[in-house]
Structure formats: C-alpha cells, structure tokens
C-alpha cells in the first residue's frame, strides 16, 4: 500500500510478483479512511477471482507509511525512494534512471547494476510536481486528466518560466490574457514541469537510459514526451506506472514476511489519532497517539520514552 499526500494506491501481488488486484483512490487528507476504503475494494476484487487468496505479508510506503503500517501490522514499512526503486527494478531490471513525479514530491533515482546508487528529491517547495499541474488545470477550467491529450494537440507551445510555481503562474496568466490558445498554454505547462524537474533534481546528475517515468504525473503523455525531448532518450511508462511504489512495498513485504496471514477485518476496526504537546521536558515534543478500538496502539513524535503516558492513554 502506498499512502501518498494526494492519492492512496494498493496492490495485491501473487508469488510471482504479478498484480492480481489493484486500487487507486484519493487520500483527501484522511489516510485512515483511505486505507480502510482501499482494503474494502481490494477484498472485493480478490473475491471476484476464482480462487481463494491469502495475503501473507503487508508492506506500506508513502508519507503515511507509519500510520498505515501500525494500522495493518505491516511486515515492511519503507520510504518511498527504496519502494519505488524496488518496484521498478522488478519490472525493468536493466533500468538506469527513474523519474518519479507524484502529488507533492518528485524524485530522481539513479541505478547501477540493479542497485540504487544516487537519488535526489525536491526540497522545500512543490514546484514541478502534480500539485502544480492540478492547480493550473483548475485555473484553466479543465480536468487534470485531459491535460496530456490537450497539450499534444498544440502546435506552438507557449514558453512558460519554470523556475518557481508562483512565477510560472503569473507567466501563464500573462500569456493567456495576451491571446494564447488553451492547448498551447497547457503544452507550455507540461514542458515547464519537465524543465523545472531537470533543473532542480537533475543538477549534476548523469541521466542514462533506460529511463522509466512513473508516479501520477506519468499518466500525462505530454510530460512523458517533454522528458524524451529534453533528455534525448526514450522514456518508458509502464501501464502500472502509478502503482510502482505500492508494488515495491509489496515486494519488500514479501521479502520480510513474518508468516502470518493478513486479516481483512482490520478495516472494520475503529482507528483514531490524537496529537498533543508533551509537557514532560523543555523539548515539548508533539506526540501523536494512535488508537485501535480505543486502545493506545503506538505513539510517535516523542524524542524519549518519558512522554506523558496517562495523557496518551486517554481517548479524546
């Protein structure tokens, strides 16, 4: 399961690491609800198969990996970079470069002999990510899913400054007001994402083929084409390109499997969280408490084990 800032992805793999069930939904700022609903749909699609399926291991990744990991009693809880690398290498063992653009972050992973040897990730700002494209789509009054095809129809893409999202936006507004056609603007935006990505993450890195492009934004064919144009290499986009993180997490779980069968009834339990500021010492850690059916399951955010247990044990 890959619980990202914008979307939550889940896959079920068989022994041969092939996808037998998959689901993609919006997180909508509520990872607990997203995980529950995802489990429901995965169970449903497994029920449609003609055989009994037992889930032997669970892995989580993405920004809510810890929360979901505790919720599901996961065998593997891994960061997105490792998960994406492992997922892609299971499909493309020869891959040398992975471009990944998600909702809030972007990663560049370099691989040598099937091992991640270097990576870069966007830092303080979400420029050049899916969030940029979707906010601009909203401004132009089009669906983000349509952007790619629309951009491919453009004959003269508008040049849009790519350094910073805020500047790109004012640049785009200016071009729109001076009469550029919508598809030219959209094409310009898609190119801007690519140049921004390569400027920020590609700095000082050597990009070598085969190049695999994944993450939600890889579903936009205009961005993939802009990557091909900028790098000069063919760019592979897998049909499951949006699921690679989840696939990687599943493979890591398979490797770490503890041998217990996962119970889908986990989705029926009630989970809740509560955050409070520990006053135990001057560090004032923000402690997040995680409850299952009203019982404290885990806490995080505390730097030491001496947080206020009494306070933590209370369910709000």
């Amino acid at each position: 399961m890959d619980i990202g800032s914008i979307s939550t992805k889940g896959v079920v793999l068989d022994q041969a690491q092939q996808v037998i069930a998959e689901e993609y939904i919006w997180t909508e700022g509520n990872p607990i609800a997203a995980v529950k609903s995802l489990l429901g749909s995965l169970k449903e699609s497994l029920g449609k198969l003609n055989e009994d399926v037992e889930v032997c291991a669970v892995g989580t990744t993405g920004s809510a990996r810890k929360l979901a990991g505790v919720m599901l009693g996961a065998d593997a809880v891994k960061n997105e970079i490792t998960a994406h690398g492992v997922g892609t290498l299971s499909r493309y063992p020869d891959a040398r470069t992975i471009f990944e653009i998600g909702g809030q972050d972007a990663k560049l992973i370099l691989i040598n002999n099937g091992v991640i040897v270097d990576y870069a990730m966007n830092t303080l700002c979400a420029a050049g990510t899916g969030a940029f494209l979707s906010s601009q789509a909203k401004r132009l009054g089009i669906a983000v899913e349509e952007m790619g095809d629309m951009a491919l129809r453009s004959l003269a893409p508008a040049k849009i400054a790519a350094r910073c999202t805020v500047f790109a936006e004012s640049d785009m507004v200016h071009k729109a007001q001076s009469g550029y056609r919508k598809e030219d603007l959209v094409a310009g935006l898609c190119t801007a994402v690519v140049t921004n990505y390569l400027n920020n993450l590609g700095k000082g890195k050597v990009i070598q083929p085969p190049v695999v492009f994944q993450g939600g934004v890889s579903k936009n064919p205009a961005v993939a084409r802009a990557f091909e144009k900028e790098t000069g290499f063919p760019v592979i986009v897998d049909e499951n390109s949006h699921l690679m993180g989840a696939i990687g997490a599943a493979i890591l779980a398979q490797r770490a499997a503890a041998g217990k069968v996962f119970d889908f009834r986990a989705a029926e339990r009630t989970f809740s969280t509560r955050a409070y500021e520990c006053g135990g010492c001057a560090n004032q850690c923000e402690v997040v408490c995680f409850y299952q059916d009203g019982v404290l399951l885990d806490t995080w955010g505390n730097r030491c084990p001496n947080y206020d247990r009494k306070k933590a044990a209370l369910v709000s």
Partner: protein, 381 residues
C-alpha cells in the same frame, strides 16, 4: 518563565546555545567575572525557534533565528549582558543586527560582540576589562587557555563518541560518560585538573565495550558549522544515524574552528576541486569530503541552513567530487522547521541505498582500502 533575583548593578551574562559548548563558555565567564553571574539560556525548544523566527528577518540563516530566540529567553530570565562572536560570512555581522533587534524590542542590556577586530586578543582583553573583569593579562590568558583546552577535550571525546556510539554493547554508555565529563569540565579551574580529566576519560572511553560488525557503514558529515554543531537545528541527525549502526565522522567542531582551521591548507586539500576561497567553511567542506572519499567512506551528508551562501558555493564542487570518488552525497537544508518526516524519509532512503551499494559493490570498496575501521584523530590531526 521564572525570573532570577538580580542585585542592583549586578551583571548577568548570557550567550546563545550551540551544542554542549555552553559548558566551557559558562565556566570561562565565571572565571572572568567573579563578581558577576552567568545565566545559561534555557535549552532550545520549539518555543525558542518560534520566538527567534518572529523577530528575525525572514531570509536570514536559521542560526541567527536560534540565537535571537536564545537571547530573548535569557533576557526574560534576567540576563543583562549578551555575548556574541562572528566568522567570515553573514555570521560576522550577526551581533550588530541582533543587538538592534533586541533594543527595538525594548530590552535593556549590554551587548559584547567578539567579532572581527574585537576578536583580537588585545581588543578582547580590553573588552573584558571594560565589563569589569579584574584580571591581569596573564590571568586572562590563562583562563582563555583553560576554556580552549576544555573545548579541545570535549571535541576529542565527542568525535570518538560519534564514531562508536552506534556499536556500544550497552546503548547510551558513551553519552553517559560524555555527560559526566561535561559536568567535571563545568567545575574546572586549573590546567592540571584538565589534564587529569583527559587522562581519566581516555581510560574510561577505551573501556566501553563495543561490538562492531565487520561490514559496518561509515558516513562523513560536512557543511555549515552551526547546523552541524547544534543537534536541535539538524533534528538530531547524528543520533538517527547511530540508531542505524553507522559510524558517524564529523571533523567540524569548535576545536576545529579554533585550532584546526587553516584556510590555505584546506584550499590545498581540496586538490584540483577549488582554486579560490568562496567564504566561511566552504573549502573545509570540500577538503573534508575529499578526505572521506579517499578513505573509502560509504557516504557523505552535507548540511547547511537554508540560504547559506558559502555552502551553496561548495555544492557544485561536491557534485563533481561525488562523481569522481563514486561516493553518494545527501544534501540537506534546514530552516528551523520542526517537522522531521521529510528528513527521515531522505535519511532512511540514504541508509538503504548505502546498504544495497555495500552488498553489491563490496569488492570495489575493499580494493580502495577503506574497509577497516578508521579512527580519526579528530581535532588533533
């Protein structure tokens, strides 16, 4: 926050935090001003950085904000003499700006800046005298020497601690010993005592049992000095690395800045990578990274506060160096944020990557002769 009782005309000295250096600095001030009082600012918390950020220019580096937070908390507790130092970047002008900010906030205090000209021994002595230090130049020098030697001892053992703490049979042994040593340094008043402390802890540090696996990973830490030395500002990254059983090597320390730093030598040590000095510690970052590369370390972490110009200058050089020595470098910028998730994700991925690299390319790293445990002599080398 409770305010201390202050007698009329009593001087209460305070200074910003940086790691554990409040120990020798507080002792130095006590020695210099027997009639005054020393107030160590409350430990850095979220509130400190909130206060500091509120009253600092937005685009100033994070250390400035931490300092302002420390000053305000110290002034609120009753301090009335504030001390600052300075170095060869924006840090050199922190004092003037901070003094003005605090005055504008309505605090009454004296500001004693040991930056630039004021840092020269003669001027520093006169500064201390003006504030009421009764000592002769000889006595003054003796106390400075004690403080300097205390810092050297601290950094020597801190270096060993960073390298070994991930492998202590009983976790926390090194931290415990180090804490005991700090308490002794807090009381020290003669050089003879210092020599005894050094001897005693050399002995007890060597007695801590460590179990080092044969395939341990080693990471060097380089970058901007404050972010490196104040663990709160880098979200305790060294502790995090030790949890992953990694040898953490960091040469940057107060002792290094005071005794080990030599701009000409470090420029030479950057080899072909740098021709000119781009300010502050950029050449040190490159020279140290090159050293880690040559020693066959598994990775380097470069840290700086957001917008640190000298270190930004070092980064393109480090890109090339990383490529030449085939050593991955993780770049982190901090801006007084308290959210650890982003840093943890990057760090976890970095550690995973180092482990995978090690498994696959083990032969290469062996052939570079870097596999053995390397005990760096720290500030002494």
């Amino acid at each position: 926050m409770s305010k201390i009782e202050r007698k009329a005309n009593e001087l209460v000295f305070s200074f910003p935090h940086m790691g554990d250096y409040h120990v020798p600095i507080a002792r130095l001030l006590e020695n210099m001003f027997p009639a005054g009082r020393v107030l160590v600012p409350p430990p850095i918390t979220k509130k400190t950085i909130e206060l500091g950020s509120r009253y600092s220019p937005d685009f100033i580096c994070a250390p400035f904000k931490f300092n302002v937070g420390n000053y305000i908390e110290a002034l609120e507790k009753g301090a009335n003499v504030l001390i600052q130092t300075g170095l060869g970047c924006r840090f050199g002008y922190f004092g003037e700006v901070q003094e003005r900010i605090l005055q504008d906030l309505g605090y009454e205090f004296q500001f004693f800046s040991l930056a630039r000209e004021n840092a020269k021994v003669k001027n520093a002595y006169q500064g201390f005298r003006r504030l009421g230090s009764p000592h002769s130049p000889a006595k003054f020098l003796a106390y400075v020497l004690i403080a300097a030697e205390s810092i050297r001892i601290m950094d020597h053992f801190a270096f060993i601690m960073r390298e070994r703490t991930g492998f202590a049979l009983r976790p926390g042994s090194f931290e415990y010993l180090y804490g005991c040593m700090l308490e002794e340094l807090r009381q020290v008043s003669t050089l003879r005592e210092l020599i005894a402390i050094r001897r005693q802890y050399t002995d007890s540090f060597s007695k801590v049992e460590v179990r080092r696996p044969p395939d341990l990973l080693r990471v060097g830490i380089v970058g901007e000095l404050y972010t490196l030395m104040e663990p709160y500002s880098n979200l305790f990254i060294e502790k995090e690395l030790a949890k992953h059983n990694i040898v953490v090597s960091r040469k940057m320390s107060a002792a290094f800045l005071l005794f080990g730093k030599n701009s000409r030598k470090s420029l030479k040590d950057t080899g072909k990578y740098m021709k000119y000095w781009p300010g502050a510690n950029a050449t040190d970052s490159v020279a140290q990274s090159r050293r880690y590369g040559r020693l066959g370390y598994d990775g380097i972490i470069h840290m700086k506060s957001y917008g640190c110009t000298p270190e930004i200058n070092a980064m393109p050089v480090l890109h090339n160096l990383g490529k030449d020595y085939n050593i991955p470098i993780l770049y982190l910028s901090f801006d007084g944020q308290t959210n650890e998730t982003g840093v943890q994700t990057r760090l976890e991925a970095f550690v995973d990557m180092l482990e995978m690299r090690r498994k696959t390319f083990e032969k290469d790293s062996l052939s570079r002769g870097g596999h053995r445990f390397h005990f760096d002599k720290g500030s002494r080398s």
